[in-house]
Symmetry: C5
Subunit: 353 residues, 5 copies
């Protein structure tokens, strides 16, 4: 099941105060900077937020990636350095955000969800990623240290790559594209599970089917909630109103938009497919019950009347004329076979046999 | 279950006459005033509406909070003092209002719902809050004396707080934000109950499950009805057409808007999750029935034919050849074991065992 | 159940010919006129349409109320007097109209539905009301003689009332408001019934539950159909395009609009609540069935094998060694108790006990 | 069930080639012309399309009605005479059209569905009607020779009728109005069937109920598909952009629009009502099953234990002390009555009796 | 079932790199060119992309059809020749595209789905088709070598056909029209299957029904997903903003649009019909169960009490007064017949017989 973080309780605190809401962890925070233009590339790992300051006013494009948002003082330091509004810092550390894009005077704030499939537990993990897109810098915040963006780094290192000819807006596109590509991977895993269950639901309906279908259904609900606002967000990026996003990047964003719609279409379709499987499972339960009941009824209808007949001649009355008959026993067998035949014909007529 | 107040019957009364509609209570009405600017703060508790008059034409921001709307003469006095339209006074005391925002010449009228979770009865309590937002005053009306806004008061008292630099519109935002934060708390409680029921529905399906699921479902319906119009309302506040709301407050309202959407998203999601649990519960009932019926059928199918056979040889006919056979008894055991084996193989083939 | 009038069959007749469609009744038609301005008020009851003519060109506001639309000649006379388009006269007498507002050159035509709850039969009665709103007159048509608007009359008679300061548009508002207030009364009755059924559905599920739930559900469907177009209609009245409706009346109409939305919200909510109760009822049926079947299976599983055993030793074979054993009878009891215990343990393990 | 014509297979044929798609029939084609203005009226029946030519350039309004579209050469001749685009001729003979209105330079093309109720088979028949509305002519095409429009003809013949004062656009309105009035007749028939089934579903649930409900449901689906686009179409006619439709006709079209909406509202409502009846039917099946199972369980629970007891004392062990007791027989009756009482009390407590 | 291709996993690869995603096949790629104007027509089959180059700058209309997209170097060569953006080449070879239309400076890119019904496996096959529409050329890409467009070729060869008078935009329309016509063929096949199942569901409900209904339902879901975006796409083509599409082609596109809507309407209707059949199937299962249970209950209720009675007189107590009675045996028969009658009357009253 999609690991759903608890809703936060923060009522009454003044808005814009940075309080980390999520699973507190002791893990360290990793800060990496890649500073590049078409000619040069510098790549460093810093421990102190002050070490980033040198990249702030350069003309090169800087990608500052911060893995871990539980140390709120680091977030606040970054916020002060880049003059980011306190409400945004609060949004970055609150992992309950709905995906959104906010345009501010000097930068754009983007928050969205990353999906991951945990093969060990068959769980979908939802992680929040925030980004600040400035004129020539991108600051990205992840909840945990991960290697999702490692592929991007190696592409940036290649001097021939599109990154080196484009600016910070292309980097933001690439980060989003990487996340949406990941959605497909997760959906593919769900799809595999669906097919597996479908066979089970048809051939081997057990109690676990309903529960596992519900688990996938709920994963679908959580993924839908995480992905749905992305559509509107990418559409907003395409509107042309957002300064740091250049017209050349639009063709890529349009591609991203198509992918987002495709993810949503696929999720909607899965909901339909899921409810179809559930219906088949339930109707098969009903059908099996019918089969079982028919068997019980056939056996009972055949033998209960016969058992009554033999019971009659097991009575110990002193005067029972039939018992004295020489072939009474065989006559009673004849009667019983007749009764059985009648029941058989009746059930045949009712199409139970 | 969400305590749902009765619909009012007021047909034929002229519109704009102040009649309190709600649970009449004898509890007193509490009127408190906080009057502040960036330098000063006065905080008083008044008994008489006339005592408020002195704060009406000051340049400081005044927050008049009235806990209790059942004494309609007090509401009318306030209405006269601040020249509020009689239809609005009627809306304030009628606790059946749909959340809405009405722009008038000199003030804005806002009405919305506050949710509270009663831990004693596991009930969600819905209370109506109305606000009049004027140039430099806010009048808020609550149904009962509560301490929901106490945290805001202590923040206002702090001379460094944003309240002291901002005007009445920020105060209105803070009141709304406080209420929406409370929604999360209530939703979190429902969420806890949901998880509990989910386990029950899977492992221990009892009659109470359906009823308790229905109770949560209905709570969700009532909350949705209370929260849904808030979205439109906050959006209206962001439209820029409302004079008393200054541009600086927009960034906070946008945050509030995001939270409102999040509440609605979460409620929609819960409806899906709830119906999923209900489906699982019902399919588990079906599955259990199947199991029970299978057991009955297996037992009956095995023993009813055998009981017939032993019945046959319990008959008292004088001439029954088999009874005379030396090993007739053992032969009949052989027959019975054979019959049982055939039934066993049949049921194995049907996958009932 | 909402008394649903039959659809009319009138194919091929030319449009605009006044044919009364509804339940023909012999009851008389009542025509009353109230003519008033801020100083004076005249109130008469007329038998002849010509008697109205005198009020047509006065500067005072006239309310002509016609109870009964089955005498189509009266409607035609009124139509001629006030120069109303024949298609509108047709609409007035056809009680199948959808609520609507039509703006014509000299007047506005409004048609809507009035709900009433018949306590004798627990039925919701839907009645059509039409109104012609002219510059300084209102003509209202009701299907039957009723006393719904009696309260309005007494308010008009009061020289201090808002009616006397306002014109015909306020009168139209007051008529609509009175009708919408009545909706609440009807909904309240449905609500009471709902609560009653809910208890029954949980504690005492009988056959009648489904039928009575369906009856309420259908009432809800009919009410929804009657009320839904009202929203659009009142919104149209608020658009500012309708000449006879003055700006001062807008604040009242806005209030009316809020009430209409509230009625619709409540009806939508009831549909959700109703289907929730139905689900609980069905799941309780399922659950009860489970309980019953479990009992049957327990009894059968315990006693059918034992009955077989005693049957075995009821056989009359001449050579049955066990029968000769001194304590064979007690040994067989021991075996039977063992079998019963095994079944008991098995069923305990299956959680049937 | 609504007779649903087969989808056509025509892939690869060039668009705009007139191929009749429908049930080929040998029945003749009837062509009638009514040519009228306020003074004169000529009414002829022609066999040859060329005979229509004389009415083409007159100033009078001509209504050419063609009953039967299976002779495609006739349609092509008409098309050449009136210079109608080949694609439209294709649409006329293809009876699979969706209702639509197409504005062309010299004429308007309208296609819609006519419903008829076949009392013999309880079937709803859907027939396609197309119309070409030109400056002063209307050409209408029906699939079969019918008498639906006969009433219109007699009204046209009346020199006082509105037809004679109005032009071709009023004729088109009248044809549409006649068709929509027919919808009401068909819906009324469905309504009668619904009421009948509702009683059956409650009192006498048999297998046929589900099938007949499904039949009505499917009729509703087909009717909805046929009627739904009409709304948009009539709205388009009201837009004012369509040259041949004069402003004076708008009041009639508005009336038609209201009727269309009413038909759609009623169909939507029937869907709700239908699914309500289905729910009641299913819940009654469930309830009946419960009753049956309860009876079985009561009988079994009472007698199966007792049968075991009497079985015990039917055993033939040589040493069974109870059998020797003087009043053993009566004691065992006492035991059995006690057991029966206990079962009775138990079932009473479970509310099964 | 609709053969659903796997979702691709391509995360991290730079966008715009041509990687074929689909079932890799060794089958060759077929490239055919038809170059025509109103006078001339050349038709060749080329092996080398360079051979197409000669047709690039002619004034005639060229249709380059490429069957097979698994050889990505061919696609890239075509892309270079016609200067197509790498992202589009990527879309062409990725068979997971959502139908869409993209307007670029020099050409329009169109991608859509072709449906085919495999009669051998009763499967619906979904294939992707892409097209580049330039000033005077159309390049079409199919996944496999097929003969769907063969009919178009023979029509182009006819010098009288509309193709020869029109340009590349008419060719694009004809290709789309051919595909949409194919949709009808597939839907017709589904329709036939539906009717077959409907009869089965009513008369012969077996386990396979639910599964086969689900198979059709899923086909419907996949088709809907493939066809839905086409509506928007054709609408876009009609908007008038797309340079290569001339005004004369609009009338054909409008026809195409109508057909698309009709396909969608039909699919939506099938969903309704399908769920209706499923409901009937389930209710028939329920009904059959009821019948079976009633039979069991009748048999059991009649014979279980009687079996008890005969069991009583099979007991071996030494003192059982009834056994000594001369006509005790006949009296017990009388009692048993009486009991049977009472049960019969009871069940008659309950309407079980």
């Amino acid at each position: 099941m999609a690991r759903k973080p608890k809703q936060s309780t923060k009522s009454g605190l003044p808005p814009g105060r940075v309080v980390y809401i999520g699973n507190k962890e002791d893990s360290p925070v990793r800060i990496t900077v890649i500073d590049y233009d078409s000619n040069d590339l510098k790549e460093i790992s810093v421990n102190n937020v002050q070490d980033i300051a040198q990249y702030q006013f350069t003309q090169t494009c800087s990608w500052i990636n911060i893995d871990g948002i539980h140390k709120t003082d680091i977030i606040e330091d970054v916020g002060k350095l880049y003059q980011i509004h306190p409400l945004i810092l609060e949004d970055i550390v609150n992992t309950q955000q709905r995906p959104k894009l906010e345009v501010h005077d000097d930068y754009v704030f983007i928050v969205f969800k990353m999906l991951d499939y945990d093969y060990a537990t068959n769980e979908v993990i939802i992680e929040q990623v925030s980004m600040i897109l400035g004129h020539n810098y991108v600051i990205s915040f992840q909840e945990n240290i991960g290697d999702v963006f490692e592929q991007l780094r190696s592409r940036i290192r290649n001097p021939e790559s599109r990154f080196r000819q484009n600016g910070s807006d292309y980097l933001v596109f690439a980060l989003l594209d990487c996340v949406v590509d990941n959605y497909f991977t997760v959906i593919e895993k769900l799809d595999e599970q669906l097919e597996e269950f479908e066979n089970d639901a048809f051939n081997n309906p057990g109690k676990h089917i309903a529960e596992r279908l519900n688990k996938i259904r709920r994963d679908t609900i959580y993924i839908r909630k995480a992905v749905w606002p992305l559509r509107e967000m990418v559409n907003h990026m395409l509107s042309g109103d957002i300064k740091p996003i250049k017209a050349e990047t639009h063709i890529y964003l349009r591609d991203l938009y198509d992918h987002t719609i495709q993810v949503l279409d696929t999720i909607e379709m899965y909901r339909d497919v899921l409810s179809g499987i559930m219906d088949v499972y339930l109707s098969n339960l009903s059908y099996k019950m019918n089969e079982v009941m028919k068997t019980l009824t056939i056996i009972s209808s055949l033998f209960i009347p016969l058992t009554f007949i033999v019971g009659v001649y097991g009575m110990n009355f002193e005067h029972m004329p039939e018992l004295k008959l020489a072939n009474g026993y065989f006559m009673i067998w004849a009667v019983m076979i007749l009764v059985a035949l009648i029941m058989f014909v009746y059930m045949k007529a009712k199409k139970w046999l």
